[in-house]
């Protein structure tokens, strides 16, 4: 799939934002006053920035409100509903924390649940897509959820929690990659089934339908070299999880958290880039691209 920068940014940033909101809502850390202002502000900013980045991806952002309508069937719609609900429900809790030093735990918990639901919905947007076998797998949501929670925990300076989450995230990414590598084959789609001609012999694309380009090729067919992918996986794993975890073993301090955060974000951007770039859509079979 085409690794669209807006989508990479969106999933990483808004994921972290919602992850932070989960922790803030749960009251694991219950900041008040300025600290609350900064932390809630950060949560809202990241979640919001992500949503804005996502809107850039839309052909018609002005019709975005329509996306709230199909929550019964569409994970994208659910994501929209959950995210809006999170931001709405969390607001009194945040305001109360900032201005009156009195968090509203009930709303906080509800908001945390919704924030978590938002993260899950985001993950499910990808995981539901059977046409991308690598995504269509139980290991996809854990990566999104753990990335969001780990990033959020870092932001919330829940260092021990963050350490464990980082390790879990590293594991989840590794599992997603290793199992993901087999998914296309397991999905049993090949040029033979795509064309129904497999029964006659070995099927190969002779000519694409047009010599000109098209949306599908641009959007769904992206070929990353294997060597390239392996390198990026190492970078994503090291920067995204291992380095932050190691940093968190050091004596706490702004520098340490900052370093861990920077590494984590860079790592997650790499992971997300790969998440898209490595994902093969079965439509590639019609274009001889696999």
């Amino acid at each position: 799939m085409h690794p669209a920068p807006s989508l990479i940014l969106f999933t990483v940033l808004s994921g972290m934002g919602f992850g932070l909101l989960v922790w803030l809502g749960l009251g694991l850390r219950a900041p008040t006053g300025l600290a609350a202002f900064i932390l809630f502000g950060l949560g809202y900013a990241l979640a919001g920035a992500g949503l804005i980045a996502a809107a850039f991806h839309l052909g018609h952002p002005e019709r975005a409100l329509k996306a709230f309508s199909q929550w019964r069937s569409s994970w994208l719609s659910r994501e929209a509903v959950f995210s809006a609900a999170t931001l709405a429900l969390m607001a009194p809790h945040a305001a109360a924390s900032v201005f009156w030093d009195r968090p509203l735990p009930l709303l906080g918990w509800l908001g945390a649940a919704l924030a978590l639901a938002t993260i899950v919905a985001t993950a499910m947007i990808y995981a539901q897509i059977r046409a991308v076998p690598r995504w269509h797998h139980w290991s996809t949501p854990p990566v999104f959820v753990l990335a969001a929670l780990a990033g959020g925990a870092l932001l919330a300076a829940q260092l021990t929690l963050a350490l464990w989450l980082m390790l879990a995230l590293g594991l989840a990414m590794a599992v997603h990659w290793v199992l993901g590598d087999q998914q296309f084959a397991l999905a049993r789609s090949d040029t033979g089934t795509a064309t129904g001609l497999g029964r006659f012999g070995r099927v190969r694309l002779l000519e694409p339908p047009h010599s000109g380009r098209n949306y599908l090729l641009r959007e769904m067919v992206h070929v990353v070299g294997r060597k390239h992918a392996r390198k990026l996986r190492v970078i994503a794993l090291v920067l995204g999880a291992v380095l932050p975890a190691l940093a968190l073993l050091l004596p706490a301090g702004y520098a340490v958290v900052g370093l861990a955060l920077l590494a984590h974000i860079a790592g997650m951007l790499a992971q997300r880039w790969l998440f898209f770039a490595e994902a093969e859509h079965v439509v590639g079979l019609y274009y001889g691209k696999r």
Binding site: E207, S211, G212
Partner: protein, 942 residues
Amino acid sequence: MAMPRQPALNLSPQVSDEVRKTTCYMCACRCGIDVHMKQGKVAYIEGNRDHPVNKGVLCAKGSAGIMQHLSPARLRAPLKRVGPRGSGEFQEISWDEALQLATDWLKPLRETAPEKLAFFTGRDQSQSFTGWWAQAFGTPNWAAHGGFCSVNMAAAGIYTMGGSFWEFGQPDWDRTKLFLLFGVAEDHDSNPIKMGLGKLKARGARVIGVNPIRSGYNAIADDWVGITPGTDGLFILSLVHELLRAGKIDLGYLIRYTNAPYLVNAHDGPEKGLFLRGDDGKPLVRDRRTGRAVAWDAPDIAPDLAAGVDIGGVTHLPVFRHLADRYLSPDYAPEAVAQRCGIAPARIRAIAAEIARVAFEEEITLHQPWTDFRGVKHDTMVGRPVAMHAMRGVSAHSNGFQTARALHMLQILIGSVETPGGFRFKPPYPKPPEAHPRPHAGHSPGQPLDGPHLGYPLGPEHLLIHDDGQPKRIDKAFSWDAPLSAHGLMHMVISNAHAGDPYQIDTLFLYMANMAWNSSMNTSAVMEMLTDKTPDGSYKIPRIIYSDAYASEMVGFADLVLPDTTYLERHDCISLLDRPICEADALADSIRWPVVAPDRNVRPFQSVLLDLGARLGLPGMVRDDGTPKFRDYADYITHHERRPGIGPLAGFRGPDGTGQGRGAPNPDQINRYIENGGFWTCHIPEDAQFFKPWNAAYQDWAVARGLYDSPQPYVFNLYVEPLRKFQLAAEGHGSRQPPDHLRARLMETLDPLPIWYPTFTDADAAAKDYPLHALTQRPMAHYHSWGSQNAWLRQIHGHTPLYISGYLWAQHGFEAGDWATLTSPHGRITLPVVRMDALNPHTVWTWNAVAKRRGAWALDPNAPEATKSTLLNHLIHELLPPRGDGLRWANSDPVTGQAAWYDLRVKIEKAPAGQTVSYPAHSAQSSPVPKPPRNLAHQVKE
């Protein structure tokens, strides 16, 4: 679960305000189209269901007509060259100025030396009109594009059986049970062939595709014969060998309808090999009952095919004996030809057996009585449901004439021509060579030519040569170089004019032919010839006038450009005098009419030609008082008469519009065509639909419709006597003698019975250094060079990769993304490669005419048509490489002069890594039209 809410849809939107029915011209197939108009603009084009050609279907090009009509490459006004030739720098001028200029150039020529005008036309379908104009002008130098296209096919068909494929005839799609397709990628009969194949498929009939490349029609062929290019004749003769051996031939048909029983004169001397004739000149046959030689059409005889007659100790054998003796020779046994053709002997036998099985075991009988020209009544029509069709894979070789002859012989031997299930002629064919005119070149200042330019010579006496043997025509048509060049040799015009051989011309006038690019061999050199100067600084070809509708490559080389309309903006006439649209069971012709008015300062070329003719005072174009006789082309179509009662359009003639074929001009004729959907048809009566050359009812019907002036029954020429006359001349008989260097070649190739010889390039010593054959194919979604200006079509075929076989792929270690360099004895090109396994292992190919010169056709100079594409034409020379005999032989068929595009031999190499642009890369020409819009979203919604 609740019913989901659905938006309310308007299921019956208004499709258009009005439908205008006219004829497509995105190619020469000429389908009927329904042009849907909204607010006076073209909104949507679909096929006309009532039209005889396409019956509602429409090809990709036809459906994309709207994008051709709106092309940004459309010329906008007459152009006068201001920069050097080839630069594309022009100034827009008025029509008055343009026509004045043309008149000033042409008038003195007509008055002094009319032959100094060479007028050649390409894709146009008004040849009877342009030829008439050129005849009135008085130049012998006129022809259309057939010489570089398919004259081999046409001439072989006419000489053998009075018609060939495509416009001449068609398979009996509704009844054929076995169909063999030789060397066709698309052909002119574009939609009808597809519709026909669809019918065969729906019935489960078998299709055999003989083609080095398995794509398109050949992809759906049940059986594919991946023949080695240039060897079809050998393969066909091997099939003939097998059928003869098995006795699977239709002897009754041969006796009744062919010259198989004609006795061939065996006396040594100037008559040897001609038919033995009676005192009345009638060919003689041996009557089996009496053993005597009698006139072929004597009543109550049993013509023999086996035995001859002895006269003065010499045995004169029937044609069929010569034929049998020749093709039964072991030289034609499957084992003997297999290697050359690249087809296993068992496969050849299997195909021969299948032909025999279907022809003789699945015979069709129609219970339709009919009477033959001898007066014999038949209760039924018996057919042999094997049909064949061939085109340029056979025709575009230097052995194409004889190969096409061999194919017709095969069709005739099994008795399938003009019988149910076989091959059927479309009126006005069949028409034997005798019923066609002879070529003419008699010219004198200020006078019209002494007759029609083109025709079918019946012997050396009809050649257009001076007493010293010099050709009379600039293209050397009908000279010893190409005696039966029935369509002229358009591909030789520029090089001959440049060389001043056989003489200098003054003005080259071209219409609708992209001669500076895809219709010339050796394109780069042709561009140089067009721009080459004499030492005094003037151009070697002094003046070039060109009519095109679009900013093609050729436009850049003209001194004066006469911009034409698009096909939706003008009158055209698809005439029975010309290249008609008839079906096997109906006479038909059609028109185009301006469904929209041009929005630019352009004029229909035919009207311009009439205007120019009037300015020049050409006979037939001016009244006695010197004023123009025709207002415009529509007026000409309506009122011109070729012979009394016969005009360009055959339908709705006579004052009341009821005349069919014959009748006085009808002023309302064009309106009647428009009301009728743009066409006219007239069905052939049931009893006249088959056996046309011999069917009395058909002959009478044809006379009544004005196709002939008297019945013209004839028999098929398995043995073509006129060819023998040329051989006799080569042997030294007669007063017209060929130059010595051509004698051997004429003797070999103008054989009166079909032969096969290797193509000239295959026979050349250099062939072994160029082990591969290189071909082009027409993409179904493009018409020659026109497709690339079409925003929709160019996305389908925007480049020309070189397709190479899996065998070569492995041999040369190609990988996806590689480029290859192809070298011929003449040039070099570089293209990206694509692997194709369903390909003759020794063949490479690419798409024809998709490549463009930078700057042409209003395309971006970096368009893939210019950067990832090239023409094979750069590798092909109009002359063969020097052979050491001091002569350069033409790269064409020695009989007809047909350009041998597909004789090309090449070698391949992997191009060095890093190649990203195709070679050759010509400099850009500047565009005479404004830059096109970047994006399109065309809609004429209310």
